[in-house]
Symmetry: C2
Subunit: 287 residues, 2 copies
Amino acid sequence: MNLSNSSETSNREPSERNLSKLCVHTITTKPWPIEEAARRFSASGIGGITVWRDALAGRDIRQTGQLLRDQNLSIVSLCRGGFFPHTEAAGRQVAIDDNKRAVDEAFALGAPLIVLVCGADPGQSLSESRKQIQDGIAAVLPHAEAAGVKLAIEPLHPMYADSRSAINTLYQANDMAEALHSPWVGVAVDVYHLWWDPTLEREITRCGKNGNLFAFHICDWKTPTTDFLNDRGLMGEGCINIRQIRGWVEATGFTGFSEVEIFSNRYWSEDQALFLEKIKHGYLHHS
Amino acid sequence: MNLSNSSETSNREPSERNLSKLCVHTITTKPWPIEEAARRFSASGIGGITVWRDALAGRDIRQTGQLLRDQNLSIVSLCRGGFFPHTEAAGRQVAIDDNKRAVDEAFALGAPLIVLVCGADPGQSLSESRKQIQDGIAAVLPHAEAAGVKLAIEPLHPMYADSRSAINTLYQANDMAEALHSPWVGVAVDVYHLWWDPTLEREITRCGKNGNLFAFHICDWKTPTTDFLNDRGLMGEGCINIRQIRGWVEATGFTGFSEVEIFSNRYWSEDQALFLEKIKHGYLHHS
């Protein structure tokens, strides 16, 4: 793969859009260490990077943040905090402490936002988990505010309601963000989790109107999908009308990044440089 | 497995509930031909059977219905009609014709109800699929009414929105049933599809109040779930509070069957007589 050619190609892209508002999650190209991902993204003209905490393992977080900025990458967010619910109070405290560490990491990295996968415990009711999520965010909030780091509640697809998130619709996320009523708490909209919801346009409008639309994640839903976690599709290979949803998001005044977050055993097993080309094409032509 | 012993055991069940309002779907014990399923269910004191169309293959449907009634089984419903959406009009007409055949089969069997898995086509928008579903049901309705067969819209979990059903919440199913405004069109509530929905209690109340609560299906959601279709859990081995949801259903005045509908590669590979004992136990103690 000739990177400078690849970069020239993207610079000659005929579309009216360029890649300056494209952000790629480190987990999307998981086989690459963050340093290589940053070089490759930057060489492609991609404007942003969202950092997963596992990508920071064994590194000086402050220096890694500087390395990303030196590559002209905007650090869009840190993934992920959350997982607040537990049947035991001690477990909930562990989660709160871990979320405070995530805030510290985001501050060190220079990430303005943490995405929250809020959690759920199958050993208790969804309503109890939902209450614990709100209490957990409230407990972390002063620390986040002091660090200048925002928190985004990400509603997850209902197929994750048992153990990953009891927040499963944008309606719920909006309700919770509004209840917490802080400029430091908002919502992350991910098309994979929300595309099926007949109230999506209305809830995106509400989210934007209340100043809570903090992040926009894209990928696609394949038919068939064969794995609950790691079979997400590239934009254009599934049934999600990403462009329509982006239109709703941008109609609220959102000018942030489109963040490509793809977990895929299939793509992780491919040549990542070729995969990155596909991501750029999918972003330009199918989102 | 000694069936008469098994039957005596269930008759001595200490619970205040008996099995007269338990219905089992033929697909739940798929390895059994319908004749054997009927004998086994009946010998166990189970009151109802829901028949999947594949179980009728190669049989005289009228005679099979009589065979079920001779075993003192109530024929609760026929599964399944639906799959109305297609990008091509010809495909939609094929679906309508097939649904009319399902009505004829239900009439011949003596089943008062057909459950509709409404369908979705990933090649078109969800809103288009939803419109085609409503149009399809409207097209079948006169035939169903003439045959005295009711139609139940079954909202399916959002993880099936791409290709199995564009009706993914009870709110949508209620809306559609109310729009079709016929005593022959109602809704099937399945805990597997709907348990995660924070509006579930309200929508069950609405469904019952409008006379649209036609059927109640139970099983459980396992953590982890490893297959999108065939890894449903037995009542009690997952995180769904089935008893709470049954309470909401019965609070509407519903006095129908709890129908056990479990697709499970694991259980289908087990001894079905032992599995039936587990079903009875799960029904009595975890629903």
